[in-house]
């Protein structure tokens, strides 16, 4: 028997809206396998997103799903998790949604170390609005609003998450399909804020403008730039030029927010 993805997907919702070759579907499959691995109960799990292509993912999932406003997923998710700490909370979104309009919620959710798993699909672009540059569009690259080349420096999402206080930060790519579910599963099991950045391809609005001839070219690039953390330690700075580290980038045990708040409740009741 083949793996049964559809037992996690709402009946009649496929095919999804994503363009041919968009890696979001690969990431969604990874998420499904991770939910399965961790044995999360559907009724007790909420999947929350903002706005954008990646944020359409929860709508397909047969869970409690909350498709919020642009950038606000982490803040909505915080309300859900605070109210019902026993629920598993997964956030899914894109690079623009999470780190531009939602940047403040993103860093503060990391800072609180609230127990949720945030899967951020970084395709370097605002796809749904037609390919405007995001905080992750490489400098010099083209987007519909940077036709002369992007003058902006980029956010390194994983570094941002580590700096902001997330206690589990991992990165992989849409090419590395089996790593996606392993890292998400590890993030789900981690008590605290887990960020899993999945470098993704947007052939329609990013690839075409930046001289990728095909989806396959974009996938090959993801394969080529990825360097596992362990391998990177044996490489020179020169060898690492243009590469991106993948795997678990950071892990730390720190007090989790809803547990801390449970102690507040204890203290208040004792007072």
């Amino acid at each position: 028997m083949a793996y049964d993805y559809e037992k996690h997907i709402r009946a009649g919702k496929l095919p999804h809206i994503w363009c041919p070759g968009c890696g979001h579907g690969i990431a969604m499959k990874g998420l499904i396998r991770a939910l399965d691995t961790c044995g999360l109960e559907k009724n007790n799990t909420a999947i929350v997103s903002g706005i954008g292509c990646a944020s359409r993912l929860p709508g397909y999932m047969d869970y409690n799903t909350l498709h919020t406003a642009h950038g606000r997923a982490a803040a909505f998710a915080t309300g859900v998790k605070m109210s019902k700490p026993e629920m598993n909370v997964i956030v899914v979104g894109g690079d623009g949604d999470g780190t531009a309009i939602g940047g403040n919620h993103f860093i503060h959710a990391c800072r609180r170390n609230i127990d949720m798993t945030y899967v951020i699909l970084n395709n370097y672009i605002y796809g749904m609005t037609g390919g405007q540059f995001s905080p992750c569009t490489p400098t010099g690259h083209k987007a519909s609003t940077t036709v002369y080349g992007n003058p902006d420096p980029i956010f390194d999402i994983s570094k941002l998450a580590i700096g902001a206080g997330a206690t589990f930060v991992a990165r992989t790519t849409a090419f590395h399909a089996t790593q996606i579910d392993k890292l998400i599963a590890e993030g789900i099991k981690h008590k605290g804020m887990a960020i899993i950045e999945v470098l993704d391809d947007c052939p329609t609005t990013y690839g075409r403008r930046n001289k990728f001839r095909s989806v396959v070219d974009m996938m090959k690039r993801l394969k080529e730039i990825a360097v596992p953390v362990a391998a990177a330690s044996k490489m020179t700075a020169e060898q690492l030029e243009g590469k991106v580290l993948t795997g678990v980038l950071y892990k730390e045990d720190k007090p989790e927010y809803t547990e801390q708040y449970a102690q507040v409740i204890e203290r208040a009741k004792g007072a």
Partner: protein, 377 residues
């Protein structure tokens, strides 16, 4: 047994009213002149196992409240004009996603940062028109500490009953003044909880209109799994662009208010039976107006006060009647003419509408109102 009484600030009364209503989640961001609501709830909520969270910004606060409500909590936020401006997008979200919650707006001057410590009533039209798109609006405008308590309870009740955000607006004067309040006994004021679905989880549609305009709302974490989106959606909660479904959904939402005006409307009339001049006033301004009416009556002037407690939906019918009866309606307010416009719209020229407006951070005093009434008669 004598009731428990206390000398409470308006904002503190609001916090206790929320607790009476069963509020168990507060998400907020510090802003003058509303912060006492947050301060009191940060202390009181954990005592009952409730949750208080100070979010990173006003938008995050509103988001956390909606998230909490979807898990079945009674959720509150409190802010002031600049915060409400920031929250608008998600107030719209709570409307389209039909998520019960209460937003307290302790009004100061504006626009922008304005006069943070001064009173204002400049957000009353924002409460109605602040978000983009069409949606129902309920806004309550209490005028005393006791009424802040009871209207906060009513705000939760209306939010739960009609599955929508409800705003409570009071100006800084009412929010920061201290008055004796009597705590209602448990059960004395009605407390309404949202209707839960009774169908099987497989059949549940979160926006199903077949049993009335307010579909039951399940909670995340129960056996009902459902999808919530800010997109126009069909009865099953999933996005649609089908014209007839989008239209039906939006009209159903407006009907929740339009078909229940009598239940939602609330106002007080004082000496209006034979009034030749009616003063339309709310919040702190209505207190000056009441004083003015008493003084004018002593002088034989037939003045009366109409005080809306529910500001939106606007008490159209009664205001139209009073416009037929009176020579003039005087509208004192701490803005440059906001409800004035609504009174004009409803009066349809039946009488003169005269505004008294003040935005200098000072209250409208009875003398100002009396002078205007005398000018008319």
């Amino acid at each position: 047994m004598a009731k428990k009484v206390a000398l409470l600030q308006g904002n503190t009364a609001c916090a206790y009213g929320a607790l009476y209503a069963g509020c168990n989640f507060f998400g907020g961001y510090p802003i003058t002149p509303s912060t006492e609501v947050a301060e009191v709830l940060s202390e009181e909520l954990p005592k009952i196992g409730g949750k208080f969270i100070q979010m990173e910004d006003e938008i995050g606060a509103m988001a956390s409240v909606i998230g909490a409500s979807l898990t079945g909590q009674k959720a509150l936020t409190a802010t002031s004009g600049p915060g409400v401006s920031l929250k608008q997008e998600l107030i719209g979200y709570a409307c389209i996603a039909e998520t019960p919650c209460v937003i307290i707006n302790v009004m100061r001057g504006g626009p922008s940062t304005g006069m943070p410590t001064g009173p204002g009533q400049s957000d009353v039209q924002q409460a109605k028109w602040g978000t983009h798109g069409d949606h129902p609006v309920i806004a309550l405008v209490p005028a005393s500490c006791q009424e802040i308590f009871s209207e906060t309870v009513r705000a939760f009740n209306l939010a739960e009953k009609y599955r929508m955000p409800v705003q409570v607006l009071y100006d800084e004067i009412v929010g920061h003044m201290r008055e004796r309040i009597e705590f209602p006994e448990p059960g004395e004021l009605e407390v309404i909880d949202r209707e839960a679905p009774s169908c099987s989880p497989e059949d549940y549609k979160p926006f199903d209109p077949s049993n009335g305009d307010v579909p039951p709302l399940a909670a995340f974490g129960s056996e009902y799994r459902f999808h919530v989106t800010g997109l126009n959606k069909a009865a099953d909660g999933f996005p649609t662009t089908k014209a007839e479904l989008v239209d039906a959904e939006q009209r159903r939402q407006l009907r929740k208010i339009d078909a229940n005006i009598a239940d939602i409307e609330s106002y007080e009339e004082y000496q209006t039976d034979d009034a030749e001049v009616v003063i339309f006033a709310y919040g702190s301004t209505s207190r000056s107006a009441r004083y003015a009416v008493n003084e004018l009556r002593k002088e034989g002037v037939k003045a009366g006060l109409f005080r809306p407690i529910t500001l939106w939906p606007f008490p159209e019918k009664r205001v139209a009647e009073l416009a037929q009866q009176a020579k003039a309606i005087i509208v004192p307010e701490l803005n440059l003419g906001q409800m004035n416009l609504e009174v004009e719209r409803v009066a349809k020229g039946a009488c003169e509408i005269i505004g008294i407006h003040r935005v200098d951070g000072e209250p409208i005093n009875p003398g100002q109102i009396m002078a205007q009434v005398k000018e008319v008669v």
